[in-house]
């Protein structure tokens, strides 16, 4: 039996050929953080990571995720409950109001920052072009992405410093 890896867990892969990934995540796995907002791949509320890339789960069949890694918004926080820096930045910058588009915004942002740790405003705009928000006017969303990028860069620098120190000590 083939497997799909969802938020790091091995799950028997979907077998229904006509089930969308978003419905499988929500109905079969109870991962209701991934939302369905438009049915035509415009709004991006259903965005998840498929092998690290942001995809709209309303436009992917569940069976296509077989053998692959899916990350949903439920998989962002650390196991100890600490919020992911992107989640924290959205709260800190008031980057959400009703919260319905937010999981998609978060996943698109995580995908962007994995590729591009220091995005320009144009980069952010391009990365979020496929995500609609009706509440915020996007102002605070873009601010949150920049804040999250800064936090992640700082974390990466700290990690690097620690490992350098460690290797020096070992040497």
């Amino acid at each position: 039996m083939s497997t799909t890896y969802v938020n790091g867990r091995s799950i028997p892969a979907a077998t229904q050929p006509n089930t969308l990934l978003v419905h499988w995540l929500r109905d079969a796995l109870g991962l209701t953080g991934t939302h369905l907002g438009c049915d035509t791949a415009q709004c991006g509320a259903c965005t998840v990571l498929l092998d690290g890339l942001a995809v709209k789960s309303c436009s992917v069949l569940a069976v296509q995720a077989s053998g692959r890694h899916v990350t949903t918004v439920e998989g962002l926080a650390r196991p100890d409950g600490t919020l992911h820096p992107v989640q924290d930045a959205f709260i800190a910058c008031h980057g959400l109001q009703c919260g319905f588009c937010t999981p998609g915004m978060l996943m698109s942002t995580v995908a962007l920052l994995a590729q591009n740790p220091r995005p320009s405003e144009a980069d952010v705009v391009q990365a979020l072009e496929g995500n609609l928000c009706r509440c915020t006017g996007y102002v605070n969303i873009v601010a949150a992405v920049h804040q999250a990028a800064a936090t992640l860069r700082q974390e990466a620098a700290t990690l690097q410093q620690e490992s350098t120190t460690l290797s020096q000590e070992t040497a």
Binding site: N18, H23, R26, D27, G30, L31, T32, G33, T34, H35, L36, G37, C38, D39, T40, Q42, C43, A45, T72, V73, E74, L76, A77, L83, Q87, F90, I91, A92, H94, L96, Q97, C98, G99, F100, C101, T102, P103, L106, E121, V124, V125, L128, E129, N131, L132, C133, R134, C135, T136, G137, Y138, V139, N140, I141, V142
Partner: protein, 803 residues
């Protein structure tokens, strides 16, 4: 025990501070609880069969084939519902036909009976064990509809010999209303030095919260329970009881419970009861099983209420100095085929209330017709009547400024109500309590660097771009004339303070604002406060709409919290063996004055029967609030493509006392982007036969992240509201109302002045006399790249008005 150790930090979370919203930790972790996230075991899926014609006679509906398909549990038609005793939705009312008789709208059946009157009207419903089975079976329902001629806009509906939408509305005029003094207005126009006349189109919009409507109905302990995405749970309950009272076990409010969890945006669209709600509830009653209907986006475009859709001939009379002598506005509102009460009231009454805005204009004559067409109903959408009225007036002011060759800010200043005129009663009989409109204007001009515009325009021209500047100074009405709220407080032994309110969260952060007000009273960290909403078993009221929640529900939260502290004093006196008069409260602790004797709030709760301290309290505002603002926008237009970009936006806003600074800024700026959407891109389009052409986000252009992000937003708190105990004024709709006229005025300004500042290619066009000057005042929304590009070449769409 349970004594929180960080109470001294609590002050940082009270009113007036920007805090992390208490709603957010769940929402960013995918732990929100929107309606479709609740999936009870054995849940059935409901799918509607909808009319594909705008107007037609239903000859037959064959359901046998669908009924026999695997997984299908039930198929319903309008006849089935009528036979079961389901009544049509409560009709819109309260207004009169032109001949003075009461308005007489068509019956709004939950499923169509006999006739269909707009594309998407529900004709039948299929309930099945799975989403896929419901879809397949809905496709197998055979509906034979004989198409009839249709009218899709007010002009067509009012034309001689137009097909009638409903025999109860002769000439397709459902209702009509006049305001003001016709004779005095004629006299004022006769003596005026200047007269302005503009056709104004407020196009139809789709509110488009990102969460589509959803309904889950089930039977809980013998009682109909309906969970849905709504701003008005109590109103929904009343509407369901009205429709289902003939069906056993839903006879009264006691037999129906409405629950609302997280709401993924409302914007007014989720205030009404919808036919889909009634059918889903009926199916659950009939089948005695949980039934879920989750709208697809196309269904939102087809049957969720639309906003605006008002055509106007707007006229302004002025003296030689720019003082407005009178306004005369003739408007036609397309309210759809099966109108909502709100949709009619918004255009006939609510918009007119602010028609003279912040200006001292004594003489008006308004005539508004509500016109039936074969389209979806209009209803509440962010601003609801005020955007239409303010847009109309602010367009007139800019045209008047050009006519008199005056500065656009100066002509407004000359007409503004002065502080010494407050309280001021406008010609619609509405009284403004507070404000300082000129003070806002002055601050707005500074924030926008009004004086520096010429240099920026020259700079844009250097880059081959046309720059324009627009201003809107305005006010709006808030409160929905539902000005009273009550809040229950429950202090629990486990260390929480719960406030229960009948107002409804829908993303506006109202829970955080209430919590901040409670922190002011209790002096505990905000994490200790919980806000409960969305359960008609716990609280009932008007719900959240018309920017009313903070100044009604927030005021009640404050009073109830104070009552709770007082309620604890005799209990503390008992626990501490002291006199009540000696008990003091601060920061989560009761103490005996002048001693170190004390007891924690939550410890005191634990000692009570049931482990709780209970209190409730209410507040009633004595009048609506009148938030107001000065919004100034600058745009750049690429003459090669017509693409318009907002490049600067400054606003100064008077919303009275600010409770949550971060939240209100988000409301104003997010709201402004919706207003920019109307100005530049959004448009619900039906073709002449009533087919909806803009039925997805591929065709309906919602503002995207590539728009403007650099708002300068300020608040002037020096004019608190005088008619409610908080001093707050509603903030939810202000940005939307101000942005539309500010942006459109900026684009018109750019086009009018293109000759002066334009690059060569456009100057050549202008030499033909086309595309420039005051002809640009004919521009109508949305100002898409194509509309602006054509305008630059002298082509304007004819603004067709009835008659």
């Amino acid at each position: 025990m349970n004594a929180p150790d960080s109470f001294t930090q609590a002050g940082r979370y009270g009113s007036g501070h920007t805090v992390r919203r208490i709603e957010d930790p769940a929402l960013v972790q995918g732990q929100g609880r929107y309606t479709d996230d609740v999936m009870p075991a054995g849940q059935l899926f409901l799918r509607f069969v909808r009319s594909s014609f705008a107007h037609g006679r239903i000859h037959s509906i064959h359901t046998a084939q669908a009924q026999a398909m695997p997984g299908v549990v039930a198929v319903y038609t309008g006849a089935d519902l009528a036979a079961a005793g389901v009544k049509p939705l409560a009709p819109a009312g309260g207004f009169k036909q032109p001949d003075g008789s009461a308005m007489n709208p068509p019956p709004k059946h939950a499923l169509a009976v006999g006739t269909v009157r707009h594309v998407g009207e529900c004709v039948a419903a299929v309930v099945a064990e799975s989403r896929e089975a419901a879809r397949a079976a809905a496709d197998a329902v055979l509906v034979d509809i004989e198409p009839l001629p249709a009218v899709a806009d007010a002009v067509a509906a009012l034309a001689a010999g137009a097909p009638l939408v409903w025999e109860g509305a002769p000439g397709n005029v459902l209702a009509e209303m006049q305001h003001g003094d016709a004779a005095a207005t004629i006299a004022a126009f006769a003596r005026a030095q200047h007269r302005i006349s503009l056709p104004i189109v407020n196009q139809r919009l789709a509110p488009s919260p990102i969460e589509p409507r959803a309904v889950l109905a089930y039977i809980d302990e013998g009682r109909l329970t309906v969970r849905l995405s709504s701003q008005m749970p109590t109103g929904v309950r009343g509407g369901l009881v009205h429709c289902l009272s003939g069906v056993s076990s839903a006879r009264s409010n006691d037999n129906v419970r409405v629950l609302v969890g997280d709401v993924g945006g409302g914007f007014g669209m989720k205030t009404a009861l919808y036919p889909e709600d009634v059918v889903t509830a009926y199916a659950a009653l009939h089948l005695q099983r949980p039934v879920k209907w989750q709208a697809e986006r196309v269904e939102e475009f087809l049957t969720a209420v639309h906003g605006r859709d008002l055509l106007s001939r707007a006229e302004m009379a002025l003296d030689a100095h720019g003082k407005v002598l009178a306004l005369r506005i003739r408007s036609w509102a397309n309210v759809g085929a099966l109108p909502t009460g709100a949709g009619v009231a918004i255009q006939l009454l609510i918009g007119p209330w602010v028609t003279t805005s912040i200006y001292d204009i004594e003489t008006i004559h308004l005539q508004i017709s509500a016109v039936l067409t074969h389209t979806a109903a209009t209803g509440a959408y962010r601003g609801a009547g005020r955007p239409e009225a303010i847009y109309t007036l602010e367009r007139l002011f800019d045209a008047a400024a050009r006519e008199l060759q005056m500065d656009a800010a100066e002509i407004r200043r000359r007409n503004m109500i002065r502080p010494d005129q407050l309280p001021y009663k406008n010609p619609m009989g509405q009284t403004y309590d507070s404000g300082n409109f000129e003070q806002l204007l002055d601050q707005g001009l500074v924030l926008a660097d009004w004086q520096g515009f010429a240099a920026r325009r020259a700079d844009s021209a250097q880059r081959g771009l046309l720059r324009g500047r627009g201003i809107a100074t305005f006010l709006e009405w808030t409160g929905g004339n539902a000005l009273e709220e009550n809040v229950q407080v429950r202090i629990t032994a486990d260390g929480h303070i719960e406030l229960t309110s009948a107002t409804m969260a829908m993303g506006q952060g109202i829970a955080t604002s209430y919590a901040q007000l409670a922190v002011d009273v209790f002096g505990v960290p905000i994490e200790r406060i919980r806000i409960l909403q969305g359960d008609t078993d716990r609280a009932n009221g008007f719900g959240s709409a018309a920017s009313r929640s903070l100044f009604t529900g927030g005021a009640a939260a404050l009073v109830a919290s104070q009552r709770a502290v007082e309620a604890g004093k005799p209990l503390a006196a008992g626990a501490l063996e002291a006199g009540v008069a000696d008990i003091e409260y601060a920061a989560g602790r009761y103490s005996v004055a002048g001693t170190d004797l004390g007891i924690g709030l939550f410890e005191l709760a634990q000692r009570q029967p049931g482990g709780v301290i209970l209190a409730d309290g209410g507040a009633k505002a004595s009048a609506p609030t009148w938030p107001n603002g000065c919004h100034i926008c600058e745009v750049e237009i690429d003459p090669a493509t017509g693409r318009t970009q907002v490049v600067a936006y400054a606003s100064v806003n008077d919303i009275g006392r600010v409770i949550s600074p971060g939240i209100v800024r988000g409301q104003v700026e997010g709201g402004a982007v919706q207003g920019i959407g109307q100005a530049l891109c959004e448009n619900v389009v039906y073709d002449a036969e009533g087919q909806l052409l803009s039925a997805s986000f591929m065709d309906y252009a919602l503002p995207n992240v590539d728009g403007f992000l650099g708002f300068k937003t300020a608040f002037d708190e020096r004019m608190p509201c005088l008619t409610n105990s908080l001093g707050a004024k509603g903030v939810g709709e202000l940005g939307t109302i101000g942005a539309t006229p500010a942006v459109v005025n900026a684009v018109v300004d750019a086009l009018v002045n293109a000759q002066k500042s334009a690059p060569k290619s456009v100057q050549m066009d202008s030499q033909t006399g086309a595309g420039q000057g005051r002809s640009a005042e004919c521009l109508q929304m949305p100002l898409t790249a194509e509309a602006v590009w054509r305008a630059l070449r002298g082509t304007y769409p004819p603004a067709v008005l009835p008659g």
